[in-house]
């Protein structure tokens, strides 16, 4: 018997056993298919903490002969403790009973049972036979109702029957399970067997800590990305006979490419943080995130509405002005705050889309140069943040069991779809102030704001994880 908690995930074919295991252990490599019978041998997926295995889930093939198996078990004349070993001894050489032998082997070795079934379908006799088989094993067992199609018409019927055979019954959709739901499932496994409580507690703790770390990494990556992107520019010498507009266009395209690449890298890193294979992860067909970063749609859909944008810019300009005011011991009587605020607000209001390309002309030392960038409108902070947050949302909801992009949530249509618009005034102002500070150069204030923004994002990611 293994000295770590082992759970055999058992059920009828094609009920989502592999999906449950893939989601619980965050493993994209587990084969999942809409066709039944893909899993032909029991396979253990251990979870390790610092290289030491602490828990294992065994993905098993589905029952192929439940009625026949139950019939044999019921007729077994020996003691209960000999029931399963005798079954294995009887059918070990029968290739037709290979799946039953495979799925019962870990149970004989002491594994707990997680019985997975699709509760979106009605109950049948074979299901009752399977439940009875598992009851006869006498092992700690939990039933997971995995509503594959979302249909809940038969849920109560299932629950009523399952309670008669299982110590615990939980609803868990492997395809849509959030991090919080995964943790709750693991928590509930603790109650299944007292001996496993400690080990499972450590697992839950490690999972929660790991998730928090991932969120912290994502927040830091995003702030770092914003700082890079907001200070990016492209410049080149301009010859006397060269067309400035054409040169600017070339530089603008180059700058756009660099920014797109940075954003792509950020999104890839977020995927990897959550152990998703970048090749298999895909955005929903209808996602606005598929729009190019520099498209009009992106500009329209993400970021703040005009009023909020102005308010945030005013708050940020006002804050900067207020700092200056303090430095002059109040002799400015708030003038700096007022002027700074008004100027920033007006810039945000009137520049708007005109600053999508964020162009600035500059002169180098000794010769003419043309420069494009950095991004000149505060709206970019909100747009880039919105795109990151939406990507993050997709990533954490891209279950390791999902191989079908249609399962991804789709934001509501119409109007601004970004999350920054729902933030409170302080959070929005912080973004604007961050933008201003980064653009002004790496001051101590900019570092403080980076830290504040990182914390804000960590909190937001944590909140999204628990939705």
């Amino acid at each position: 018997m293994s000295d770590i908690p082992v759970f055999a995930v058992i059920g009828h074919p094609n009920e989502g056993k592999s999906s449950v295991v893939a989601t619980l252990v965050e493993n994209d490599a587990i084969r999942i298919s809409a066709r039944p019978g893909e899993t032909v041998a029991a396979k253990a997926y251990p979870v390790s903490i610092d290289g030491r295995e602490v828990i294992a889930f065994v993905d098993t093939p589905g029952f192929q002969n439940p009625v026949q198996t139950l019939g044999w078990l019921r007729k077994f004349p020996g003691p209960e403790s000999e029931l399963l070993p005798a079954f294995l001894a009887e059918f070990a050489d029968d290739p037709g009973m290979a799946h039953e032998c495979e799925l019962l082997t870990p149970v004989i070795a002491g594994a707990g049972i997680i019985y997975v079934l699709d509760a979106s379908r009605p109950m049948r006799q074979v299901d009752k036979a399977e439940m009875e088989i598992l009851r006869l094993t006498g092992r700690p067992r939990m039933a997971i109702l995995n509503c594959k199609t979302g249909e809940e018409e038969f849920l109560e019927e299932w629950k009523a029957e399952l309670r008669r055979h299982f110590n615990m019954v939980r609803v868990f959709n492997a395809l849509r399970a959030t991090f919080a739901e995964r943790l709750r499932l693991l928590e509930s496994l603790r109650a299944l067997e007292q001996d496993w409580e400690g080990a499972l507690g450590r697992v839950v703790d490690a999972f929660a800590r790991d998730w928090k770390r991932r969120n912290a990494e994502c927040a830091a990556l995003t702030v770092d990305f914003l700082r890079r992107v907001l200070t990016m520019s492209e410049s080149a010498p301009l010859a006397e006979d060269e067309d400035r507009a054409a040169k600017e266009a070339v530089l603008a395209r180059r700058l756009e490419e660099r920014i797109r690449a940075e954003e792509g890298r950020l999104h890839d890193q977020v995927c990897l943080q959550f152990r998703h294979d970048r090749r298999s992860f895909a955005l929903p067909e209808q996602s606005v995130l598929r729009e190019d970063l520099f498209s009009t749609t992106t500009w329209t859909v993400f970021g703040l509405g005009r009023t909020r944008l102005v308010a945030a810019a005013v708050a940020a300009g006002g804050a900067a002005g207020a700092a200056l005011d303090l430095a002059t011991l109040g002799h400015s009587l708030g003038l700096f705050a007022g002027v700074g605020g008004a100027a920033a607000g007006l810039a945000a209001l009137f520049k708007g889309e005109g600053l999508v390309k964020g162009r600035l002309m500059g002169m180098g030392i000794g010769r003419r140069r043309v420069q494009v960038g950095p991004l000149g409108a505060v709206q970019w902070v909100y747009i880039l943040l919105d795109r990151f947050l939406m990507h993050y949302w997709y990533v954490i909801h891209w279950s390791h069991a999902v191989r079908d992009k249609d399962f991804l949530p789709v934001p509501a249509d119409g109007g601004k779809q970004g999350l920054t618009g729902t933030w409170d005034r302080e959070a929005r102002a912080l973004c604007a102030e961050f933008f201003k500070a980064v653009r002004d150069g790496g001051t101590d204030r900019a570092m403080d704001l980076e830290e504040d923004l990182r914390r804000l994002l960590e909190g937001e990611l944590d909140r999204m994880s628990r939705l």
Binding site: H12, P13, N14, V25, N27, A29, I30, R31, R35, P36, G37, E38, T39, V40, K43, Y45, P46, V47, S48, I49, D50, G51, G62, F63, Q64, N65, P66, V67, Q68, G71, D94, P95, G96, H99, S120, R121, M123, R124, Q125, V126, E151, A206, F207, R209, D210, R213, E217, A220, T231, Q269, L272, Q273, R275, L324, A327, G441, G442, M447, E450, R454
Partner: protein, 516 residues
């Protein structure tokens, strides 16, 4: 000390001492940025594994929590080649040597030039003060004023990094990776530029200090190895009193020292060393002419050398304070990665699936004898899942049977698709007189349930007929929807069942959908 004893690794002791005494330095922060930049493009899983491994090593070495960042950095450096910090340190050391040597040489040569004395005309004290002492004092004063202004003002001390780097490295492509990285980091005008500014200021003060040392050394060597005479002169009607007042003012910093040490000329000595060109110096007393050098040396010491020393110390102190007060935002994340348990699951391939073999039916499950001898006239027998019994209307079943087989069912039997139930059905139908002598079974299958081996065995039992007169038809239905049970199966379910039934060959099974 008790904590120190916990360290078994010499490197750990070094970490502890370094962290506790100095904290991280500019070079450390630069290397940190360098390694973070490398990590930025790396696979997070690899980074996480490495950092956790380092964290466990740090724990094993009892490195305190505040030393985790430095521990991480030292280990990363051990695996890396040249780092930006070493490149910068090399550059700064070269600059230090150059500035020190240049300062010493400039100071010595300046004083050597001012102390030129051939016996005809004594060294003019005023000229010495004006060229060797006052400029250095003025520069020190200017530096102090700028520092005071920076301390009071809201701005931050910066150096003109871009022109400086443009001057040092005109083409970015020629830079090594480390130097290029440093260049971009300093040009970003963040904390690296601010710290570098203080480092540069320290360098400038080092140069100034060496200039003062060179000047003082030049004076002392000149006095020691050559015969010098000092005097003063003026076209203006400046009396001895005026000169004495100036000397007293300059000598204020060391006025508390005993007068007998002769560190400032007395009024008599001042009067005795006044040069009037038309009278020559032959009438002046030698004692008065040499009385000036201790004063000049003290001027260099107190107005040039010591202020430079203070400014240099101040620049170093501010840099240290800046370094100590700087908490790199990544350090927390690194420490977090080092401390967080590494949760992992191995990725591994699974065996390829293949269908289970269908065992031949046992004697008990064997096909019942053909029912041609029965008395009832039978069209077809309709097998229905027990759960659907009573839920599907008889007319619907009849219509389905007519559609798929052209005959109405003579009997509708509830039976699970497993060998036991099928054997029972065959037994019950054994006495039927089949129309045309051909047994016809239609099986309604809920196709959303995957075909398991038990189902296929049952179909094989039902379809097997040595006489060859039995036909088997499957009617696949989909998931029940809004009270309707005879729904169309999904394409996938139909495909799955068709593929499974194919394995029953040579048994022929016709497949239809419950609703086409």
């Amino acid at each position: 000390m008790a904590r120190l004893r916990l360290f078994c690794h010499p490197a750990s002791v070094l970490v502890w001492l370094t962290v506790m005494k100095h904290g991280m330095r500019l070079g450390d922060f630069l290397d940190l940025e360098w390694f973070l930049e490398q990590d930025r493009l790396a696979d997070p899983a690899t980074t996480l594994q490495r950092d956790r491994r380092l964290g466990l090593e740090a724990q094993a070495d009892s490195v305190p929590a505040e030393g985790f960042g430095m521990f991480w950095l030292l280990r990363r450096r051990a695996d890396a080649g040249t780092t930006p910090a070493s490149a910068l340190a090399s550059g700064l050391n070269v600059l230090r040597i150059v500035l020190a040597v240049a300062g010493l040489a400039a100071g010595a040569s300046l004083v050597r030039g001012l102390l030129a004395y051939s016996g005809a005309e004594p060294v003019n004290v005023s000229v010495f003060l004006l060229l060797a002492v006052f400029p250095q004092a003025a520069l020190c004063l200017l530096a102090a004023l700028l520092l005071a202004a920076r301390a009071m003002g809201p701005g931050q001390f910066r150096i003109p990094a871009r022109p400086l780097f443009s001057l040092l490295w005109r083409r970015q492509g020629r830079l090594g990776a480390q130097a290029g990285f440093l260049r971009s980091l300093f040009l970003a005008q963040g904390w690296p530029a601010r710290m570098l500014a203080w480092e540069c200021l320290g360098l400038l003060h080092l140069g100034g200090l060496c200039l003062a040392v060179g000047s003082l050394a030049g004076l002392l060597v000149g006095v020691t190895v050559t015969d010098l005479a000092f005097g003063w002169q003026s076209t203006l009607q400046v009396g001895t009193q005026g000169m004495h007042a100036l000397v007293s003012l300059l000598a204020l910093p060391w006025s508390w020292l005993p007068a007998q040490w002769g560190l400032a000329p007395t009024p008599g000595q001042i009067e005795g060393s006044r040069i009037v060109l038309k009278e020559g110096i032959s009438t002046l007393a030698s004692a008065d002419l040499v009385a000036w050098w201790p004063f000049l040396a003290m001027c260099l010491l107190t107005l040039a050398l010591l202020p430079r020393l203070v400014l240099l110390a101040l620049a170093r102190h501010v840099l240290r304070r800046l370094e100590r007060g700087f908490a790199h935002p990544a350090l927390g994340r690194i420490a977090d990665r080092m401390r967080s348990p590494l949760v992992g699951t191995p990725d591994s391939a699974e065996p390829v699936s293949r269908p289970l073999p269908l065992r031949a039916a046992t004697a008990g499950e064997a096909a019942a004898p053909s029912g041609r001898v029965g008395t009832d006239e039978a069209g077809c027998v309709f097998l229905l899942p027990p759960e659907l019994e009573g839920r599907v209307a008889g007319e619907d079943l009849a219509a389905t049977a007519l559609r798929v087989g052209g005959e109405r069912p003579v009997r509708v039997v509830a039976a699970a698709l497993e060998s036991g139930d099928v054997g029972r059905v065959l037994g019950e139908c054994a006495g039927l007189e089949w129309t045309g002598g051909r047994e016809r079974y239609i099986v309604l299958v809920e196709a959303w349930q995957p075909p398991i081996r038990e189902n296929l065995q049952a179909l094989e039992t039902l379809g097997r007929d040595e006489a060859g007169g039995r036909s088997l038809t499957l009617v696949l239905c989909g998931r029940p929807s809004h009270g309707r049970w005879l729904t169309a199966p999904s394409a996938v379910d139909r495909e799955v069942w068709s593929a499974a039934v194919e394995r029953l060959a040579p048994l022929r099974v016709d497949i239809f959908g419950a609703a086409e």
